[in-house]
């Protein structure tokens, strides 16, 4: 089942930590947001593989935006 990974805060994409095809464990950072001088990881909710990253470095994302899809 594909599953959407959503940003839990508003911020700017600082780093893409995982890429399409990568295996991740629950709690691994998928992307890292920068907001108000803090780096905040958006983590994989469960073990699995990353199907797609929907954002680019430098892009602003809002709280609730889909940032990646898990397989």
């Amino acid at each position: 089942m594909p599953e959407e990974i959503k940003a839990h805060i508003t911020g700017v994409v600082f780093q893409i930590a995982a890429h399409a095809g990568d295996r991740v464990q629950a709690g691994d950072p998928v992307i890292v947001l920068e907001s108000m001088k803090m780096e905040i990881p958006v983590e994989a909710p469960r073990p699995g593989s990353v199907k797609e990253i929907r954002v680019q470095v430098g892009q602003t994302v809002q709280d609730g935006d889909v940032v990646a899809i898990m397989e």
Partner: protein
């Protein structure tokens, strides 16, 4: 006296500096990013210059944009505030090269204290106690492991080019060192462009107490007493006060002497802060020196009755220190609470948004330093500090009681803030007793 001062900052501190300029009759120039075109600091200043897009790297951290703004408006001095370029020696150097007065210490002082391993060396040489740790930057994990084994776990790994709690990790056991060492190097490289890391012993249940110092061109250095700053999250302060509660006269004397000695050793000019950790045993250690005006300077102003920013401007213009040490007295008590756009219920996650309602307390013994108004956009691009609430009184109990009421009277809607958390801090029995230490927030002492 200075002719015109450019304020290279935003938010409450830009407004604070503009106010001091006005008091001295000096015209002020604000700078602003595209996100801040309608910000209060822009309206406060006599002139304002746009310096670039919202991201700080392209505006408030752009040395050429700020130097150009100063030159094009005929300013002869630049006040950097805190944060942004305030502790960037290249900026101080660029100001000097452009024949602009940098309202702060010398380029050399900014540079040597900005390199935290160099600062440790200089202070140790001056006889100021420094925490056991590495002599300089540590480049490989085996060396870090050797030092950690000597000083004993837990240890702190810190970025040599850093400060302000950024790029720091506590390591409790040898097994965790390799991962933490790599992570701190990576963060240090990203944040400061310098992957150098050093090791210090971690002190459990320590208090963070700092001393305000001030020097002038004639080589005089005074201290303006201490501030207690132990209530912190992510190694960053939330509540500060002066005096530090319950310090013995001997300990206080030791701290202020060490601070003045350290500042004299580097021929420090203008306002600066020597930060110390105090162990439960009463032993104290130099942590770092902040070569700028501190966020929490108002608590010192309230207990001494002195205006630090006005003094900064006068001393930067070449005037001698306006006070002798024996004239600087600490009277009563003052407390500062930092209102951040953060959600304390979610681990202090940032909370950007638009401020839709704002009512701030006023009255005897209450001082408000605010960078925002109704309608202000709280942007993801900048520090989340919105407002500093300061109260004072004849005793600590008076100042704390006033803070309790002042926080209860604050209405701020549109973003989540630290207000509910701060109310729990000032109501907490341990805080009321003055029994504070730097791990209280992370240990959940003030959780709802």
């Amino acid at each position: 006296m200075l002719r015109k001062v450019l304020v290279a900052n935003r938010g409450e501190i830009a407004r604070r500096v503009i106010r001091a300029c006005r008091q001295l009759g000096i015209p002020s120039v604000a700078v602003y990013s595209e996100a801040d075109a309608r910000a209060p600091h822009v309206r406060d200043a006599d002139e304002a210059v746009p310096i670039g897009p919202a991201p700080a790297r392209q505006s408030y951290l752009s040395i050429p944009a700020i130097v150009d703004a100063a030159l094009s408006t005929g300013a002869d001095a630049v006040h950097p505030g805190y944060g942004f370029l305030s502790e960037n020696w290249r900026f101080a150097q660029a100001c000097r090269d452009a024949r602009l007065v940098f309202v702060g210490p010398s380029v050399e002082a900014v540079r040597s204290m900005g390199d935290k391993t160099e600062a440790r060396r200089r202070m140790a040489a001056a006889g100021v106690p420094v925490l056991p740790g590495s002599d300089g930057a540590v480049t490989d994990v085996e060396e870090a492991a050797g030092i950690a084994a000597t000083v004993g776990f837990p240890v702190l790994l810190k970025a040599a080019g850093g400060g302000g709690g950024i790029g720091m990790a506590r390591v409790d056991a040898a097994a965790d060192l390799t991962g933490a060492f790599a992570a701190v190097r990576r963060r240090a490289e990203a944040a400061f462009g310098d992957a150098a890391v050093y090791v210090e012993r971690y002190v459990q249940r320590a208090r963070h107490v700092e001393v305000q110092v001030f020097g002038d061109d004639q080589g005089q250095v005074v201290h303006l007493h201490e501030r207690e700053c132990s209530i912190q999250r992510r190694h960053q302060k939330l509540v500060e006060e002066s005096p530090a509660p319950g310090l013995s006269p001997a300990l206080k004397d030791g701290l202020t002497r060490a601070a003045a000695t350290g500042a004299r050793a580097i021929r420090y000019v203008n306002a600066g802060t020597m930060e110390f950790l105090i162990e439960p045993s009463g032993a104290f250690w130099f942590l770092e020196m902040n070569t700028r005006l501190q966020v929490e300077h108002p608590v010192t102003e309230e207990v001494t009755g002195l205006d630090l920013v006005v003094a900064q401007l006068r001393v930067a213009a070449g005037a001698p220190l306006p006070w002798r040490q024996e004239e600087i007295r600490q009277r009563g008590a003052a407390l500062e609470c930092r209102i951040y756009a953060e959600d304390p219920a979610k681990g202090f996650l940032p909370s950007p948004g638009t401020i839709t309602a704002l009512v701030l307390p006023e009255g005897e013994g209450i001082r408000v330093e605010s960078g925002v108004v109704v309608g202000s956009e709280v942007s993801v691009h900048y520090d989340p500090l919105l407002i500093k609430l300061v109260t004072c009184g004849a005793t600590r109990e008076d100042a704390v009681a006033r803070m309790d009421k002042a926080l209860a009277g604050c209405i701020l809607e549109g973003v989540k803030t630290t207000i509910p958390f701060l109310r729990r801090v000032v109501a907490h029995p341990e805080f009321r007793r003055g029994a504070v230490h730097t791990q209280m927030v992370e240990q959940g002492a003030f959780n709802a």
